[in-house]
């Protein structure tokens, strides 16, 4: 879309944008009165130091799911900024499956139902805005924003009423049975006879990797994926070519919502083992940054997901090391990444093209 050769578009542009975002963040750090290099060193140490890798991958799991969700919708030029709400509903699907079935069915079967529940509930929360966009012409950005608030209202109501843990005053469900929880990676590794540090990393990371492959196959190796990309390039042309645009839009949103809903696998079924308020914690919005940075490609999203995982885990370390810099610096960097690699994507493209392609032009 940028008119650059693929290697520049995919390989160099994201790095330039990241460098710009980090540079701007360094200015903020310097203005606050700390040494940017020292801060970034602590960030890196916090993200990849001993025992930290599990946490980094745990955060990355969330970001890969929400990044894929945003990217899949982007393929058809749909802005799904409702991943927060869809993840929230995914959590509800998990909780309903676990709380109602865990005494009836064996644990592994309940877990399977819960996984399906996460995807289905997330999809359902995205299908409505998708359908409204396709058949009633309401703008998907606005409806998905509204659905985020509707989801959080629904959750406050459910968790402080019908689904609240009996005998307690806090807005959360009771804990799920041990048998239905997703196993932690450190438990699996220890069972195999190796040493492993405790971390929240669980089986969902594997699911996230599988989702990356599935999205790649879907988008670049199926008829449906072709339809999505055609719509993304030109809705008019897609319609003219006989692609059922409306149905494809609804289906794209359903799949995008299902991916966002799967983020809850990591948080609810993997770590919290209960449904709590606001477990999505802005990760849905981070997914937009991840998708933009990863150029909507599963491999790029995996890399960007790891980067943001490192940023969030390393950011948590800042709270202990500095008096003035806290983990919200990660949010600042995230905002800058969205700005540079999304909204200002076209600012440096011509400049980059001139700089790097000048030699080729001279040869020609």
């Amino acid at each position: 879309m940028t008119g650059l050769p693929r290697w520049l578009d995919i390989g160099v542009l994201p790095l330039v944008n990241l460098a710009l975002a980090l540079l701007a963040a360094a200015v903020v750090v310097a203005l606050v009165g700390e040494d940017p290099l020292e801060v970034f060193a602590v960030l890196l140490q916090g993200a990849f130091g001993p025992g930290a890798l599990g946490y980094t991958l745990y955060y990355a799991t969330n970001f890969v799911f929400t990044g894929l969700a945003a990217a899949l919708a982007f393929q058809a030029r749909l802005f799904n900024i409702g991943a927060e709400g869809q993840a929230t509903l995914g959590g509800l699907g998990i909780a309903l499956a676990c709380l109602s079935l865990e005494t009836v069915l064996p644990g592994w079967l309940v877990a399977l139902v819960a996984i399906a529940g996460a995807a289905l509930f997330g999809a359902a929360w995205a299908v409505v805005p998708g359908w409204l966009q396709a058949y009633r012409g309401s703008h998907i950005v606005i409806t998905t924003i509204m659905f985020n608030f509707l989801a959080s209202g629904l959750m406050v109501w459910l968790l402080s009423g019908p689904m609240m843990r009996p005998g307690q005053g806090s807005p959360q469900t009771r804990l799920f049975d041990e048998a239905v929880r997703l196993p932690a990676v450190h438990d699996i590794v220890r069972a195999l006879g190796f040493e492993a540090a405790r971390s929240p990393l669980n089986l969902s990371f594997l699911f996230a990797l599988i989702a990356c492959v599935a999205v790649w196959v879907l988008v670049w190796r199926t008829k449906f994926g072709y339809a999505l990309r055609a719509i993304g390039h030109s809705e008019e042309a897609a319609r003219y070519a006989g692609i059922p645009v409306r149905r494809a839009v609804v289906a794209a949103m359903a799949l995008s919502g299902a991916l966002a809903g799967c983020m809850a696998l990591n948080e609810v079924l993997g770590v919290q083992h209960k449904l709590v308020l606001n477990f999505s914690a802005g990760y849905g919005f981070t997914g937009i940054a991840v998708a933009l940075m990863g150029r909507n490609h599963p491999l790029g999203i995996l890399a960007a997901g790891l980067l943001f995982g490192a940023l969030f885990q390393g950011g948590a370390e800042l709270n202990f090391e500095f008096e003035t810099i806290t983990h919200e610096l990660a949010l600042v960097i995230q905002g800058l990444v969205i700005l540079f690699s999304g909204a200002l994507a076209y600012m440096f493209t011509p400049w980059l093209a001139r700089l790097l392609l000048a030699r080729n032009a001279a040869h020609a």
């Binding site: 903020v28 009165g33 802005f79 402080s160 999304g342 909204a343």
Partner: protein, 324 residues
């Protein structure tokens, strides 16, 4: 009856207080979107304004300096949005998301750096914020039946910015529908090619629209932290920018209907906590959480066109490419 009348007035008084920031933000969105620029960054500008106002009011002791800082902070974010969307024709939605997240992070980072207070600013004293203004004769007229309490309870006793919020509606209406600038601004949002062929710069018009939006969001931010509240708390905008966006759509991008939408949403917000613990016929305990998201549900239904129809400005979200 007098007790009921006083109750009604108290609820309406609360409505005005809760609607004020919505009115500012919705008017900001109206001006920006009428010029053709989608503004989902209202929330971020509101938050940045609230922080800047509280921080500077704390440091200088003057609410006016706080207000000026709020305007500056909000306008700066508006200019970032404009630079991305107008100058570089970037995606307006993406830029709005960036503005929101940037504001969320920056306010806490700077608050921690300045005050080391967990992302808050210290509580403001009486002289450091805009306090309620008693209008003339409010107390002496209180005894007049019906109208006396109306004047004393509802009309009098708000801070300066509440009055400014209502005034901003009048101002936006006058500017947008009674001046040449307003006509051109709206044309830039409907059919920018026509504006361009008349020899008027679409970019300049849209920049002005975005600037006005920045100023209005700054006022809303100052209202939150140094008029209604007494200091900045992290994430204190709490979705009000998005609620204002809903009101903007609910009022179909027209000043007076948008004002009514803000008042309606403010009323729901005032009434919802009062329903807490109340038993409603058929429903049982009042689902307060569901009442408070009613505005979002109503906006979705309206957008879907099941009753009425909300048609956005024709060129909304479409970058303008000048032909050579």
């Amino acid at each position: 009856m007098p007790e009921l009348w006083i109750d009604v007035l108290t609820v309406l008084d609360g409505t005005a207080r809760l609607a004020a920031p919505l009115i500012f933000c919705a008017m900001a969105g109206l001006v920006s979107e009428r010029s053709g620029i989608v503004d989902i960054g209202l929330e971020g500008k509101l938050l940045a304004g609230a922080f800047a106002a509280a921080a500077v009011a704390t440091l200088t002791g003057s609410p006016w300096a706080g207000l000026a800082a709020a305007l500056a902070a909000s306008v700066m974010l508006a200019l970032v949005h404009g630079f991305a969307c107008i100058t570089h024709r970037g995606e307006q939605i993406v830029s709005g998301v960036a503005v929101n997240i940037l504001a969320l992070g920056m306010t806490v980072v700077v608050a921690n750096a300045l005050f080391r207070h967990g992302g808050h600013t210290p509580a403001l004293g009486a002289g450091e914020r805009f306090s309620p203004i008693a209008l003339p004769f409010a107390e002496s007229l209180r005894e007049v039946p019906l109208l006396g309490p109306l004047y004393a309870e509802l009309v009098s006793g708000h801070n300066l910015l509440v009055y400014a919020a209502f005034l901003s509606v009048l101002l936006v209406w006058w500017l947008g529908w009674r001046t040449r600038f307003g006509l051109r601004l709206r044309a830039a949002g409907e059919l920018p090619e026509a504006v361009d062929s008349a020899g008027v710069s679409v970019s300049a018009l849209r920049y002005r629209g975005i600037l006005i939006a920045g100023l209005l969001c700054g006022l809303a931010g100052a209202y939150l932290s140094i008029a209604h509240g007494a200091g900045f708390v992290r994430e204190m905008s709490a979705g009000k920018g998005f609620l204002a966006l809903a009101a903007l759509i609910f009022g179909r991008w027209r000043p007076l209907p948008v004002l009514f939408a803000c008042l309606l949403f403010g009323l729901l917000d005032t009434v919802a906590p009062r329903l807490q613990g109340m038993e409603l016929p058929l429903i049982g305990p009042a689902p307060v959480a569901l009442v408070s998201v009613l505005p979002y549900a109503m906006t979705v239904v309206l957008l879907a066109g099941f009753f009425g129809r909300a048609v956005p400005p024709g060129a909304l979200g479409r970058p303008f490419v000048k032909e050579h």
